[in-house]
């Protein structure tokens, strides 16, 4: 490993740290860096910080859970996107394009419709995401075409549209005074309602999926080769693909169940990370995890500070992601074989 991954990793870490500092200090109730430091140090030391109680409460109760959730959701989506892009040998796929997000959304909406608890909603989201990705993959490989990648992306769009119709149906049936506003707001993607109680159900699946994917990081290089080549190198592609899809869908669905559909992060961040450290998954996955956390944190800070009312997160990520996708599509034409 002569070309060092350190500079790229350092930049990603820098983005995360900048995101953390901004997210804690900027907002309707400004907090100074000094106050932030003393509150966090006091918390670590188990003592009391010498600041106004309101400041401490803003840092620990209001912004703290939201900051952690943004980091977790951003990492989860970035890691899942990186894994999907490698697995499907296509830098244009992402959890939202492959239907994982819309499948998870349908599962979660059904969970909300039946007024289930957060763990059950997580479970429904996971099953929905898994079924959607499985369906997209099965249909995509059953259709024999000259350009299988295009078929895969189109299948994802079609299955996503069907799942969107399913979400629409559940919304139509939902109680318009209680459930519907909650569903609508949640589907747009937001972290504003995230509290301490949401963190553990988010952290568990995201950590599990990410640990599995990072543990498999060297194998994922070979998995990004054509199937027969990977098998000839000694990779049991069938079982490994199931494990990777399940892990990536787990992190995606956990973030969807917590924060709604936040599109494009899983597409944009893997590319940024790849431009920092190259395509080797051994470096790419950790870098994408760190960068994804910082990226979503910055966007979430923007979402709650740029206007009088909070802007749904999914809208901002789409505003950034859509032009990025178009640029990517245009530049890919040159070297798509």
């Amino acid at each position: 490993m002569t070309r060092s991954a350190l500079p790229g990793l350092a930049i990603a870490t820098g983005v995360l740290i900048a995101g953390l500092l901004l997210a804690f200090t900027v907002g309707r109730y400004p907090v100074s860096l000094g106050d932030l430091a003393s509150v966090l140090l006091a918390k670590l030391g188990g003592g009391r910080a010498d600041v106004a109680p309101a400041v401490e409460s803003v840092i620990l109760q209001v912004r703290g859970p939201r900051v952690l959730a943004a980091v977790l959701v951003g990492s989860a989506l970035a890691v899942a996107g990186t894994a999907f892009q490698g697995l499907f040998r296509n830098p244009l796929v992402s959890p939202d394009i492959l239907g994982a997000s819309s499948g998870a959304a349908l599962g979660a909406v059904i969970g909300i419709f039946f007024s289930l608890g957060i763990v059950a909603i997580q479970g429904f989201a996971f099953i929905g995401g898994l079924v959607a990705v499985g369906a997209v993959y099965a249909i995509g490989s059953a259709v024999r075409a000259r350009d299988p990648i295009l078929v895969l992306v189109l299948t994802g769009v079609v299955v996503g549209a069907l799942l969107g119709a399913g979400v629409g149906l559940v919304k139509y049936l939902a109680d318009p005074y209680n459930q519907l506003p909650a569903m609508t707001f949640w589907l747009l993607g937001s972290l504003s309602a995230t509290g301490t109680a949401d963190l553990l159900p988010l952290f568990g699946p995201v950590a599990l999926g990410t640990v599995v994917l990072i543990a498999l990081r060297w194998r994922m290089n070979a998995m990004s080769l054509p199937e027969e080549e990977a098998r000839a190198l000694g990779v049991a592609t069938g079982p490994l693909r199931i494990v990777i899809v399940a892990a990536a869908t787990l992190t995606t669905s956990a973030s969807v169940a917590t924060a709604g559909i936040i599109g494009w992060v899983g597409l944009v961040v893997p590319h940024l990370a790849r431009s920092l450290v190259g395509p080797d998954f051994a470096r790419l996955l950790p870098t994408a995890a760190i960068l994804g956390g910082g990226y979503l944190l910055l966007i979430d800070t923007l979402a709650r500070t740029m206007a009088e009312v909070e802007i749904p997160l999914g809208i901002l990520t789409a505003v950034v992601g859509t032009p990025f996708f178009i640029w990517l599509l245009a530049s890919m034409q040159r070297n798509w074989s």
Binding site: A215, L225, G234, V235, G278, P279
Partner: protein, 255 residues
């Protein structure tokens, strides 16, 4: 060691490509697979690699069915050099060759110092160590073929199976790859490759296997099997035979 196919019926779920094929390849020899397009060359190649399961018969390694080996054990004995392709991701040449070490490490392991040493030695052997940090997508077709050969060698296999290794190369690189195929056999590997050019078989192979419509037409030492009559039967096209008066070397021209 001997890699052999016995009474193979080969093909895919919905159609059969070839029947009753017997193939044997020993370490230290080169076998060339020749025949027209659609005749079953690639299907036979993939069956011998264990990538396709034969519909009848079996592939054996020193008499032991290949199917009884795990996918990892198999990769440590037989390496595959696919047709040159441009990958999706711009991995460095070093990373591509290191992937050849996959079967030597555990599921969660990273490349070890020994893996790096073996990969580097493979790059050195083909004279492309200076490319190690270049993106695989940015080097020439001839260089890519050598990188894939280095990756196969990094697997430390007994057998190397190549799918049309000279197909997309310029004249100079064809010669280079053919020479490397010969060198692989000299270093004790058994080599099986497909080609569209009988001259390449003459140049690099000890034996030739002629396959048409999924049936073996002839098999034997290249000097005796590759003659005008056989080639005209194999390709159903006229062939001209040339002899270099100085060296006695033989070549064939189509048409």
């Amino acid at each position: 060691m001997i890699l052999s196919g016995h009474g193979l019926t080969i093909g895919y779920a919905d159609h059969t490509v070839g029947r009753d094929l017997d193939v044997a390849l020993s370490t230290g020899e080169v076998l060339a697979l020749l025949g027209p397009n659609g005749g079953g060359k690639t299907t036979l190649l993939k069956t011998m690699l264990g990538l396709l399961t034969p519909k009848a018969g079996d592939v054996r390694l020193d008499g032991k069915p290949l199917g009884e080996l795990s996918i990892r054990e198999r990769a440590r004995v037989v390496a595959y050099v696919p047709q040159v392709h441009v990958g999706t991701f711009a991995f460095s040449v070093e990373t591509v060759v290191l992937m050849g070490r996959t079967a030597h490490g555990g599921l969660f392991s990273q490349p070890s110092a020994r893996d790096r040493a073996v990969s580097h030695a493979a790059l050195e052997r083909f004279g492309i160590a200076h490319l190690a940090q270049r993106p695989y997508t940015m080097i020439s077709g001839g260089e890519r073929q050598l990188v894939l050969l280095a990756r196969a060698l990094a697997q430390e296999p007994q057998f190397v199976v190549l799918d049309e290794p000279t197909a997309s190369l310029d004249f100079g690189n064809q010669g280079k790859v053919l020479a490397e195929i010969g060198a692989l056999a000299k270093s004790g590997h058994g080599v099986l490759f497909t080609t569209h050019d009988p001259n390449h078989a003459l140049r690099a192979a000890d034996r030739a296997y002629l396959l048409r419509d999924g049936t073996r037409i002839a098999e034997g030492p290249v000097g005796s099997v590759l003659n005008r009559a056989q080639l005209e039967t194999l390709y159903r096209a006229p062939v001209e035979r040339l002899v270099d008066t100085a060296t006695g070397a033989v070549a064939f021209l189509p048409g």
